[in-house]
């Protein structure tokens, strides 16, 4: 059996209804549990990006990526390990204000975890922390002592460490292909 590790799959798609479903069912059909997911527009108009994380084997994830790429509307999919990417999650924590104040821990927590406060009311305080899973988890565990009432963590966002921008290059190649097809069509119409 191959070793499992946490893989990050990034998928660039046309910005169309239904594509997230098409991509996620590729995981589902193979009983791969999606650990986290984030979906958002990209800097390129009309292109969306999904970032999945999944504990799996390399062999399985290679299959998943190839199957994702077959879907019409998917532009390109990439498989990464944590070494290839710079990544972050964001986590929000809701804690009773009285508990924090009474224990005089606000400053200590904010400093140690490099976290910040988003909102304070008499009833509750909302703290924000960005970081890797283990870091957001560490703050979660600490705040549990102070009566944490809500905790939520986002999916991963990631950018590649590679100096080459493979997706940008892919899009340029696609534009060139489209143009050459259009030229060929125009020529065949002329003849």
């Amino acid at each position: 059996m191959q070793q499992t590790c946490l893989y990050t799959v990034t998928v660039f798609t046309d910005d169309q209804v239904g594509l997230l479903n098409q991509v996620s069912i590729v995981f589902t059909r193979r009983r791969q549990n999606i650990e986290s997911l984030s979906a958002s527009p990209t800097s390129i108009p009309g292109v969306s990006k999904f970032t999945f994380t999944c504990w799996s084997t390399l062999r399985m994830m290679e299959q998943v990526v190839k199957q994702i790429e077959k879907r019409v509307g998917v532009l390109k999919a990439f498989l990464h390990t944590d070494d290839d990417i710079v990544y972050q999650n964001i986590a929000l924590y809701k804690v009773p204000t009285r508990s924090l104040v009474d224990n005089h821990v606000v400053e200590k927590i904010l400093r140690r975890h490099n976290a910040r406060i988003l909102e304070i009311t008499e009833a509750y305080t909302v703290i924000e922390k960005t970081g890797h899973n283990d870091e957001t988890r560490a703050l979660f565990e600490e705040l549990m002592q102070y009566g944490l009432t809500q905790y939520v963590r986002s999916g991963r966002v990631a950018v590649t460490k590679d100096a080459a921008e493979h997706f940008t290059a892919f899009l340029e190649e696609q534009r060139r292909l489209e143009q050459s097809q259009a030229d060929a069509a125009a020529n065949s119409n002329d003849n």
């Binding site: 239904g18 790429e69 077959k70 489209e178 259009a182």
Partner: protein, 570 residues
């Protein structure tokens, strides 16, 4: 340019622009605007009204498989749409190009559980190459163009266009541009000559090479190239079920069919070969058996247009990512002329052993044997069939018996549900096949079980006078399940015996001629009458329910573990 037409008319004009002259379908509420417009287009588009939507899509599959064209299906929403789900899955797995147009309720009713509303896109996404809902009339033309492009290029497959009533009824202007490019969709990989050279080196170094030909050969019209390459390098060619007829059955390099009920020589030699050259095939589990004991001595060279097939089921040593035709053309000049006579003789030896130990007695049983068996029936029909006949099968023993015993002389001569194994596929697929190849004889073998799953399509045959020759291999059992019950479930025949109707009386109700065949001396004259008859004909052949399909690789066993009968292994 200012002419305003309905979306339904855009669809009709678009179909004509794509060269479609035949569609299969069934009308209903949410697709009525399309059917109303079809009424104005009957001079350019022939609509085949089947008796069930499943019949329509299987007929379109049969049509596409023999003609190389894209099959077109039109059905309504809700039950019309869900009734094509089996055919969509079948076409997806067997790489058949289809454009399936489903009606859909009005945009305002979407998601309200309206009458005959179903989430067809949600249903279709996992079982189609592409599925899209169209809400505006101006989106029909580009979607239709993309549908034909996606369905027919690359590895072909089915596409669903879910047409809301708003799109059908709304007005727009007519403009149609065929699709030649979809961003991110790369149907034709750029041939990598490094891969081709490496492949040629492997072939030239091999001493015991075998070609595994799949349907990709037929899909890229590479049959002649395959034969030329095999002849040049003297390589035996084994075919998958869907690859059959890529090389004529009588060709000296034809090594037989692969798989669970394939021929002994190619299955046995899979584990003796030093190179397997897989062309447009995907190492299905019915071909490989236990993958850990597959191709034990061989390197594997995989030629396929679909990169996701590489290393999916079997680890390969080299790959050529291209369609079969392009890859074989590029390989041809780089492959040395060779001779592998002793390797080739080993195939002949195994084939002779299979012939004497299995086939001879099945095809030509002793006179004392009172009951007919399916092998001798198929053999007899094949011997009497006109040159270039197309074999259509249902699923089960009839499929394996006919694939094993039918002899192919022309390419694109088999229509069968390979990957999905859809019982009930045969009859409607045969109707479509005849319409796709009207000048060829279409010969269907089906069982009493599968025939009854879609026998309502006898009505389609009656209405259109479709000339299909139908052979029901009738053992009053679900024979293939019975065989497994007999071999692996201690003869406990759970829910496999069937009480059947009088099939010939049934045929007569549809004005189709036919006859019962009970014994061997009735068989030949009946087959002769069937082929002499102009029009559809049904032979209801009563066969021995205890007869089984051998050879057989038991499920989970290695490819060269081959049962010759209940008691004997090869």
């Amino acid at each position: 340019m200012n002419e305003r037409i309905t979306g339904a008319e855009v669809l009709m004009r678009g179909l004509v622009a794509e060269g479609v002259d035949r569609v299969f379908g069934y009308p209903g509420g949410a697709i009525m605007p399309v059917y109303d417009k079809l009424f104005d287009f009957t001079s350019s588009i022939t609509h085949i009204l089947t008796r069930h939507e499943q019949g329509a899509i299987h007929a379109a599959q049969g049509y596409a498989r023999v003609s190389g064209r894209t099959g077109v299906v039109i059905v309504t929403s809700g039950p019309g749409a869900t009734n094509v789900v089996t055919g969509l899955t079948d076409a997806m797995l067997d790489s058949t190009p289809l454009v399936v147009i489903t009606g859909q309720v009005s945009v305002s009713a979407l998601g309200t559980d309206a009458f005959q509303e179903t989430d067809m896109i949600g249903l279709a996404q996992p079982i189609t190459k592409w599925a899209i809902q169209i809400q505006r009339p101006e989106d029909i033309a580009p979607a239709l163009a993309q549908a034909f492009y996606v369905a027919s290029t690359g590895r072909p497959g089915p596409v669903v266009l879910d047409l809301t009533k708003d799109a059908q009824l709304g007005l727009t202007s007519w403009q149609y541009t065929p699709c030649r490019f979809v961003r991110g969709y790369l149907p034709k990989p750029v041939l990598d000559m490094e891969q081709v050279r490496a492949a040629a080196d492997m072939i030239n170094a091999a001493r015991r090479p075998m070609i595994l030909a799949g349907q990709g050969v037929a899909l890229s019209n590479a049959e002649q190239l395959l034969i030329s390459l095999a002849e040049k390098a003297d390589i035996p060619v084994a075919c998958t079920l869907l690859g059959l007829s890529a090389i004529p059955s009588g060709h000296p390099l034809f090594a037989g069919m692969l798989g669970m009920h394939g021929n002994v020589a190619p299955n046995y030699n899979t584990n003796r070969a030093d190179l397997l050259i897989a062309v447009g095939m995907r190492f299905d589990d019915r071909v490989t058996g236990d993958t850990t004991r597959y191709a034990t001595q061989a390197k594997i060279l995989h030629i396929d247009i679909d990169a996701s097939e590489f290393d999916k089921n079997i680890r390969t040593d080299a790959r050529v990512h291209a369609d079969a035709s392009e890859a074989l053309s590029a390989l041809m000049p780089l492959v040395d002329k060779a001779e592998h006579s002793s390797w080739r003789r080993s195939f002949a030896r195994h084939a002779a052993a299979e012939q004497s130990r299995v086939v001879a007695a099945a095809v030509n049983p002793p006179e004392s044997e009172p009951l007919l068996n399916m092998h001798q029936v198929v053999h007899c029909v094949s011997e009497h069939a006109p040159e270039g006949a197309i074999l259509v099968t249902d699923v089960g023993q009839n499929q394996m018996a006919s694939a094993r015993n039918f002899r192919f002389s022309h390419p694109k001569s088999i229509v069968t549900s390979g990957a999905l194994g859809t019982m009930g596929f045969g009859l409607p697929a045969a109707i479509g096949a005849k319409m796709g190849a009207p000048n060829r004889t279409v010969c269907l073998f089906t069982g009493d079980g599968g025939f009854q799953m879609t026998l309502q399509e006898l009505g389609t045959i009656m209405q259109y006078g479709t000339d299909v020759k139908i052979v029901i291999l009738n053992n009053n059992f679900l024979g293939n399940v019975r065989q497994w019950q007999s071999l692996f479930f201690k003869n406990r025949f759970s829910q496999t015996p069937m009480l059947n109707p009088d099939f010939i009386a049934l045929a007569r109700a549809y004005a189709i001629e036919g006859e019962d065949v009970e014994s061997r001396n009735e068989l030949i004259p009946a087959v002769e009458r069937m082929f002499a008859h102009h029009g559809a004909y049904i032979l209801n052949v009563n066969i021995d329910p205890a007869a089984m399909i051998f050879p057989m690789t038991p499920p989970g066993e290695s490819v060269d573990t081959i049962m010759l009968n209940q008691n004997e292994y090869y």
